[in-house]
Amino acid sequence: MSIAERSVTRPAGSPPAHRRTVSRRMRHQGEATPVAKATVIFICTLWVVPTLGLLITSFRTKDDANSLGWWTIFTDPAALGRLTTRAYSEVIAQANLDQAFVNSFAIALPATFIPLLIAAFAAYAFAFMSFPGRNTLFIMIVSLLVVPNYVALVPILQLYGDFGINGTFPAAWLAHIGFGMSLAIYILRNYMATLPKAVLESARIDGASHFTMFWRLIMPMCVPALASFAIFQFLWVWNDLLIALVFIGPGENEPITVAVKGLMGQQGQGWQLVTAGGFISMVIPILFFLALQRFFVRGLTAGSVKG
């Protein structure tokens, strides 16, 4: 966890500038031997090929997808002419993926923003207010970081059953709020602890209330940490399968992960459908990732203990 804290306060991978220029020379940057270069290219190929195969297959006709390897596209120009987006329109209609796509947003957005706000208040109290039990309560948060959310499934299912909210969006929101809370408090509090206390004290002397300081001073200063957690939590919820299966399940409210999992049993109808569905489920996280890679790294380093 040590890195978690450091990486929130300073972007991972960017040591002080002067040191970097020295180290680049010292470290032979740009002086890779041919063997090293070849190894990196080989590894990258291994990493990319599976996804490439999925992408190509999702644009093929049913016959091509099921009887010709996707790599034949590079040797058989005629196959290029047969590429089509039909699998996408078919799978969207057949498995209601458009609905599932919207559902995923409907689940992920509140499940990202609500815990963020609740955690920010708690983190503020932990960082800037003194009260009996503060340290004990925070240590409790730290130790709860690693508790598996499996513990919650049976008791919460029963509780939800009593209230009749199983299968609804709020059932998933509340679960994600509960499971994301300790991590959010942890990240935000550690970030707030690095902010200069003097600013706060002078605001206090000027008569600002905690509520005002929280909104006017602390929240604006915490934007990097808030963004890291928001991105991480959004992707975590979007990609989640377990909680969606348990508290929402298949049906009209199912998110994209549950819908595509359902598709996977139906390869008989053709690999082009499964691969197209798979790609639809990935497109948002991949775009998110490529656009916000640096924030993503920070959130992950702090957040991958979650679950």
Partner: protein
Amino acid sequence: MLIKTINAVLAVIAGVGGALVLFWVLNRLVGLLPGRWEDRLKPYVYIGPAFLAISLYLIYPAIQTIHFSFANADSTAYVGLDNYTSLLGSAGFRSTLVNTLLWIVIVPAVTIALGLGIAVLADRLRPRAEKLAKTAIFLPMAISAVGAGTIWRFVYATNPPGEPQIGVQNAIVTGLGFDPVNWLQITDFKFNSLELMVMLLWAQVGFSMVLLSAAIKGVPADTLEAARIDGASERQIFRKVIVPQIRGTIITVFVTVTIGVMKLFDIVYVMTNGDFDTNVIGVQFFNELFTNFNNGHAAAIVVMLMIAIIPIMVYQVRQFRTEEAGR
């Protein structure tokens, strides 16, 4: 569809707005109290909603789960330690434990070795090429297990002998003149579990690489220079100068990946559902609960998992304390 979308937008606004109003109202209410009480109570008002969420979703369920682990399948009568003894006595669960242990032994170590290796190699490329290579390897981290499942089921796909193979692995195997193989059903040497581990490695090595690479770049250049002047070889510099200085990061990655592997659920669930002797704790828990409807067994599995995680928990708290002391 449109209505659903509008509903979703409204839900976001209502959820966030509701949380805002809650804090505003609470804050106002405490403000009505005389000054001393206001200062005393305000911190608890700020942490209150967060603790309510944590208590409801982690603490209460944890206690309830321990409780259920001593009761029967539908939690109507106590059975003492029966759940534990019958689980530990069954060959199926023991095999699940062995598999999980295998994941714990193999995956974190390999994740670190690969991540370190790639970080060192990529460090020597030109900055542009380094960034590109890292993005390629890091990207799978953003892909869900379900997405990864569609990708890798296709890599492992099998057509009957004689037909053209569309899965990459079988295309290679048949290209070399062998018969196609049903990859996920080979239980010899736990080969199918290893194939599933490949998926997790594919997804996680990027994470380890990014952290370790940042740590390597943070190693002060003068320590490397000093070692070079003293005549150390590149390999010696790596082992004796770089690795000791990035030890903290290595441990962080190791702990993180270990916890992830202990709680592993979705990759195995999506690929084999634990069949063909690939079961792990997370999947067996899920199936005890939703296939066998046995709350007692499910709860006992979670309790065992929690006990196994306690050492990591203690480590985390200690780590946090030393960091606080140094702040």
